[in-house]
Symmetry: C2
């Protein structure tokens, strides 16, 4: 690339209210992670340093740093001297992740039953009640939003930052493989009832009950893993 170092151009498009400027490498890592988790970059796809450098109008150095960071998080795989590819998740590992996710959510539910503040309990109950309307009217999209918020309240309510990080990260990794719409179709009512069991157990301070209810709830959802092979092969062919 023959473009000289033009640092005075770097703020273009960055927006005016840039609170605290990050490094290029961090921005790139965030952008690429986003694309991967959204499914825009299929597993197995090669990430060429020069190509990315051109695309983002930077030199290879920050690109390399970004790829290295992504490799450290497991989102991409680094084969020494042979380049970087988007990580390919084996079907067995995906299955493991769904199972582990259920256990993590169960643990969070248990902690919620013990540790949630009265306000948080009220908030959870209120949200759950509100979602009932979406069930009655069959609003899948709306219910899915309630569903996400429901789980987010649990992540917050467990009052455990580390567990919350594990949950967020695992959820993000599983996001490309969740077909929420698909899973919810025809299951709105039963999903709501499963949530109901979780909520009631939490409200009565029954940690074991909350954990069990959540595990059962997710056991049905995680059947989605079966889809994986089809999705994976489809993505690889693209």
């Amino acid at each position: 690339m023959h473009v000289a170092n033009l640092p005075f151009l770097s703020r273009l498009g960055a927006g005016p209210a840039n609170p605290q400027r990050q490094t290029r490498a961090a921005e790139l890592a965030a952008t690429l992670a986003d694309e991967i988790l959204r499914g825009g970059l299929a597993p197995g796809r090669r990430l060429d340093e020069q190509e990315l450098a051109q695309r983002f109008a930077v030199s290879r150095t920050p690109v390399r740093e970004a790829l290295g960071q992504l490799a450290a998080t497991g989102l991409v795989e680094h084969r020494p001297r042979r380049g970087v590819i988007v990580a390919v998740i084996a079907p067995q590992r995906l299955q493991d992740m769904f199972v582990a996710m259920a256990e993590l959510e169960a643990a969070a539910s248990r902690l919620c039953a013990i540790a949630m503040t009265p306000d948080e309990r009220q908030g959870l109950e209120a949200l759950h009640r509100a979602s009932q309307a979406a069930v009655r009217e069959g609003g899948i999209d709306e219910y899915e939003r309630f569903n996400q918020e429901f789980h987010s309240l649990l992540y917050a309510g467990c009052h455990n930052g580390y567990l919350r990080d594990l949950l967020h990260a695992t959820r993000a990794r599983l996001a490309p493989f969740r077909r929420a719409q698909f899973n919810l179709r025809g299951r709105l009512a039963s999903s709501w009832r499963e949530h109901e069991a979780v909520v009631q157990a939490i409200l009565r301070g029954d940690g074991d009950g909350a954990a069990r209810a959540m595990r059962e709830h997710l056991a049905t959802v995680s059947g989605a893993a079966a889809e994986y092979v089809a999705i994976q092969s489809h993505q690889l062919s693209a």
Copy 2:
């Protein structure tokens, strides 16, 4: 979609020598991770690029890549344009990690009760029986080795690679704060009895019981978190 640090999936510093040659950056990252987890580099300590470059006889480039990877795993903290320091773990987060660790081990125990093969069950029982000798003779070091092996068998027996990774990573992060000897002194017999409860539940296929027993076992151990403040302030002053 926002991707936070995914500190827990790091395989840095784990595992034996890689047969295939790695890059300098990866070696450096592994070495530094090891030093940090062993406590050789205290939290808050500044990591100077040039200094590290000299020490390892490389240029700043691979050092920077290594530090970036460590930052992605959460082991160090990167302040843009202000350098890198060894991550300082807040007391609250440490407490959270102990609690989460207990939940993860409980989950593993549950899965063991369900999924362990007959061979694995026999192996676990055999190890547990063998460790009884160390208890009788008061061999703390010996018992600690049995203890580590015991937990390793559970990590393997749950047949869930993702959960195993979470457990390994969390255990590694907590390693500097575990004072195993301290915790075991005078507790050998009770620790063994707690293990006994876990083993028996697993052998009879009682997942809930195994999880509960493991949670109770670790609840006593995690009191170690209280030590943290003293350790931390001591390390910071060095």
